[in-house]
Symmetry: C2
Subunit: 321 residues, 2 copies
Amino acid sequence: MEMSRLAGGPEFDFIRAVLQNASTSHPLVRVGPGDDCALVGELALSIDASVENTHFRRAWLSPPEIGWRAVAAALSDLAAVAAEPVGVLVSIVMPPGDRAAYAENAMQGAIEAAEANGAVLLGGDTTAGLMLALDVVAVGRAVPPVLRSGAKAGDEVWVTGRLGGAAAAVSAWLAGGNPAAAARARYARPQPRIREALWLRERLALNALIDLSDGLLGDVAHIASASDCRIIIDSASVPIDAEAGATYTQAVSGGEDYELCFTTSPGQVDQMKAAFEQTFNVALTRVGSVEQGSGVAQRAPDGSVSAVEARGYQHFQDKRP
Amino acid sequence: MEMSRLAGGPEFDFIRAVLQNASTSHPLVRVGPGDDCALVGELALSIDASVENTHFRRAWLSPPEIGWRAVAAALSDLAAVAAEPVGVLVSIVMPPGDRAAYAENAMQGAIEAAEANGAVLLGGDTTAGLMLALDVVAVGRAVPPVLRSGAKAGDEVWVTGRLGGAAAAVSAWLAGGNPAAAARARYARPQPRIREALWLRERLALNALIDLSDGLLGDVAHIASASDCRIIIDSASVPIDAEAGATYTQAVSGGEDYELCFTTSPGQVDQMKAAFEQTFNVALTRVGSVEQGSGVAQRAPDGSVSAVEARGYQHFQDKRP
């Protein structure tokens, strides 16, 4: 049983406090709490909550989009360990009013997202409650998994796609406007990078892998902490989602883009970057490097390096637009 | 992939509508939606929601009891297929206010219930929200599982323990009073019948098995529907939880006692009933029989038989005290 370490931040403090008192060792459990998935036997398991007014507002998304987004976010945890999807369990809390119809439409979107990624519906639970909330369990097959804990000094740090689009959409809504179509699509219908992760795992020695759910700086902090190393992000190289109108801050701190970030030994990615980008129509960008030490830092275009303060990802209700 | 059938009721209508449009077939999936657990490879998986004001009120339970109850209910789904617990994933939505301390105390109770049943903490998610809600995923090893679908005409129907205690506690609270200590304990600290299920599976040919979460009449309706048979409950033989002050109606319709109900061929249980009761200090009671046909009926002490109308289990917010 490997217990990966988590970076700082109040949410992670809570999890650490809970874990201190919990037994996590069992012969079937290869990886317990702290990575993107638990690994039990040959299966990868993760649970991911999507709660009204915390992860989304009903005014922003259609019911099928709410379901799609909840399942895509959960399946992204399988991509984050390079596991192949098997199925999902979906627990839905339905608010009063147009309860059943709304929930049925949300479930339709959930099922579409599952099937688009090769996952079947395994089961679920339905409950009445004050607000709309979905918990999605992603179940995958992970042989062998790629964890957060394998980054090595000297590794390159790469990301898929362009970053900040989902955060740009949320900013537009919070400011009372409407997001650009590209930004809205990134938020409303994220695509978990399942096939991309499996493709990369086949062709590369992936040392560490994570999905970008807490924002680039927050997620590389998890890799740095779990791998006992320091990660430097080159700010000039971060692939900002310009089509979505994202800013640099949204690209490095905005969560929920569900792109991948991985580390690998130098020179490997260059040999397959073109093939990857042609196959998936998704960019691969080197954004930094792994060093000895701890924590995360940004290197500015002038070469100056500044440490990034550890903090957990804040959902939008805690933010100012 | 076996798709068990569900009995009638609005909640199950919703699930049926969703399942009509969902793909549920995958080479690793031995049992999909509709039984107490999905079976994926060697693992049994189930998700179970515990939502404030639907499953419990905060005034009724301490935070550790809320966590215990949520995990015990989820683990009961493992007992219901005679699976051995491996671990749990716990997603917790925390309401505003005393959020972190309250949630940490609830998680302590959750972890206690897991450890008391041989399950470790595998992971989870924490989210801010309007109300306190826990989703617990139970993960177990089920080789071989016992499903709802194997009941045969001629089988005897048995239950563990005494029924109606949890419903008696809820009735007392809803009437503005306080429940008897025994009733409160049944509701606040239920004991999933994990060891009992494994013990029975080793010694008996269990044809069908379920846990009593929807109430005896509702749960045997699931067995009848999945097994394509008719179940007759002998009303005089139902073991009412007298210590908890339960009524007959609470014993047959009150949910959340988390006792087991199983069917087996005649005469088998008589040979081991005394050993079971001595080992676990839990009663084993024959409550009925399986016939050809469909649906559920009650046989009164005078011998008259009346069919039971199909309906889903209603949580307390839909009930009149």
